[in-house]
Symmetry: C2
Subunit: 386 residues, 2 copies
DNA sequence: GACACTTTGTATATCCATTATACAAAGTTT
DNA sequence: AAACTTTGTATAATGGATATACAAAGTGTC
């Protein structure tokens, strides 16, 4: 039994349009809203007044006249509530408190040494509580938390497998939600990153993008029509395990020649270790000092990255490919090799439209995406889009 | 200025729901419709009566009583109009006339030897006219034509490149529409095939599928949430040119190690030629007679197909992968090698959900998908879905 | 067969969004 | 100061959906 149409639905649709327009273009008058949305003046008035009652919008006073009565300017009440975003990495927990526009108002980072789910959960809980304590008073309080996890997450917020954390079948969503007392949403780290860039970063204007989280492994957050493509079980984007070398290096996953064996941070570090370099930071530092070996390693990983990116270009015809996570730090050395490989290996028509860029939110793509997930869940009750 | 909500929209939404339900479950009474859709009895009555006026639905008489007044049974008027589907292959033109439910009521096939767009267009036009002449009289007549082309097609129905036809920048949609006098829709062959299987074939119940057209090359029609994923310019699905062997065989596209160099019909035939076999039919015949060489060739191509399919499984997490076009004919020899390769090379969670099957419409996936495109365009004026 | 009960489908009233119209308030321009 | 503009609200009209009542046409039971 699908959702049918009635007046209530119409109102939801129009209210969504009005609120979205205010969020995107405020400050704005009712008259301007009517012009921009095509809704009748009276309709806009009614809806805006309801939004004001709900504390989601408020009036900031009069604007400039253009030959008549001065308009009352409206703005989105971005501090009507706050959201928490958590990036649950392998070696760290990064947590932020944001307002409803995704602006960071509190941040907290702590190191992690893997460990049992219970212990890590405790730490996450503490981090969230401490951020919550720092949140200014607001009508809605903390509207929810979003967590981005470096692992495979299913539709029910269960972490099926997080190899680098050593987790299997952890009911993260349920456990955290019980402890925190507000809604919790779980996503994998690449999807969270894609959401973050889509909403607040380099992909704000884009529609079809692929966000690549290049760290220990390679994961993709795939966005089609500004919506995450999650796959039938929520497992899509495990693109690091696609084969780019039929009889290539063995991978932990059981396959041979997986992309991430050639293009991930781990794959560079494996080679770097033969040069006596143990940490990614050191390798970056070496490359900065123009060490030919370090630069060569990055050139190699860049070419390998380019191969997989060309595959993405041919498969998805996206308008934008964003490279995120640790590997962004090597941008200056890998950019050219990537572009060369893509130029050689992708089809002209798709390549023309595909921009390749680096994540603009830096290390914060995933954590902001997670926060956005919470914010969007908060609004989703009253939202309908066509 | 987005579409806003009003009563007209509500009516469209509900009418769409009612018509879709009738199409899917007819024969059906108004009372049953009310139950199934959740719409009020009176609303259903009004909408059904309008659909009857529009000749899209009619009453076939009384049904069984279940302890009260007998219901009036309604059915979709599937012959209220007809659609034309054309599969414009490299060596043939296959055209069908279908009713509004996609059932074939006329078919026509002719050989093609490549050639200039003008000549081919003329042939297509003649084929369509001859099918149109055979269509029974109906309220709406021919509602439109859909064409599936073996090449790269953009959003405006321009065939940017059809290497095997030798075409470049042919304004197929405009040219045909002018000549035929009814709406024409152009798709590439893989997208058309995906649509066909989605609507009338093995994917009728599925939501996220990848249809692989494995012929001269390999193209994919990617369906997410029962919608074609077209990419930002309409060029998505050129999956045959993804790299599975970094330094592999050279491809016409300029890349090395493209999947279709190992897993397409052409790639098998290239090997077959060294055995003195010139036609795919011969190779199939040989394999039927259990020729070890022929069977070995198919085993090899099966394994290669499996590699790319595993990549698809990991990337998309689809519920269904359909293998279509010429290669379906080798099903009995390639099925096991494909499954073995996928089992070795894809991640367990995604693999569990991914069924791999062969196109159930056989050689007609694309032509029926093309016809469906025309039908759905005809209905789209009055359709809104949430 | 009479009676009670069900089921179907329509007719009419009510509800509630939007739009249309009118208008008051508060500007600018000449 | 007078004429015109612009903004925002109040009230009526419009057109959908739902709610209610009811007639028509069944079934089942004694």
């Amino acid at each position: 039994m699908q959702t049918t149409g009635d007046q209530h639905l119409v109102k939801k649709i129009n209210k969504t349009i009005v609120l979205d327009t205010i969020i995107k273009h405020s400050p704005l008058s009712r008259a301007q809203l009517s012009d921009m949305t095509g809704l009748h003046k009276g309709t806009v008035s009614t809806l805006v007044n309801e939004l004001i009652d709900e504390k989601l919008v408020y009036e900031i006073g009069l604007g400039r006249s253009s030959g008549g009565r001065k308009p009352v300017m409206l703005v989105f009440h971005k501090t009507a509530g706050y959201a928490v975003g958590v990036d649950l990495g392998v070696r760290y927990i990064l947590a932020v408190l944001t307002d409803l526009e995704g602006r960071i108002v509190g941040e907290l980072q702590l190191d992690l040494e893997g460990g049992e789910p219970e212990g890590v959960l405790k730490l996450v809980e503490e981090a969230v509580h401490s951020l919550k304590a720092g949140a200014p008073p607001s009508p809605y309080g903390i509207v929810g938390a979003g967590i981005g996890v470096a692992g495979i997450v299913d539709d029910n917020g269960i972490v099926l497998l997080a190899p680098n954390l050593g987790w299997e079948n952890v009911e993260l969503q349920r456990l955290l939600q019980e402890k925190l007392g507000f809604p919790v949403a779980i996503d994998n780290e690449a999807n969270a990153g894609a959401l973050g860039e889509l909403q607040y970063g380099a992909a704000r204007e884009a529609s079809d993008i692929v966000y690549l989280s290049v760290g220990t492994g390679i994961g993709a957050g795939i966005v089609i029509g500004r919506q995450l493509m999650k796959g039938s079980g929520g497992f899509s984007g495990e693109i690091g395990h696609t084969t780019i070398e039929t009889n290539g290096k063995k991978c932990r996953c059981g396959n041979k020649g997986c992309w991430e064996q050639y293009a991930s941070e781990s794959s560079v570090m494996e080679k770097a270790r033969t040069l006596g370099i143990g940490k990614f930071d050191e390798l970056i530092a070496l490359a900065r000092r123009e060490s030919p070996e370090a630069v060569r390693l990055f050139h190699e990983v860049g070419e390998s990255l380019g191969i997989g990116i060309a595959n993405i270009v041919n498969t998805f015809n996206p308008e934008l490919i964003l490279i995120g996570n640790q590997m962004t730090r090597a941008e200056q050395w890998i950019r050219n090799p990537i572009e060369r490989a893509v130029a050689h290996r992708s089809l002209p028509y798709s390549r023309q439209q595909a921009q390749i860029r680096f994540a603009s939110l830096d290390t914060h793509s995933a954590v902001l995406g997670a926060a956005h997930h919470a914010i969007s869940a908060f609004f989703s009750k009253d939202r309908v889009t066509l």
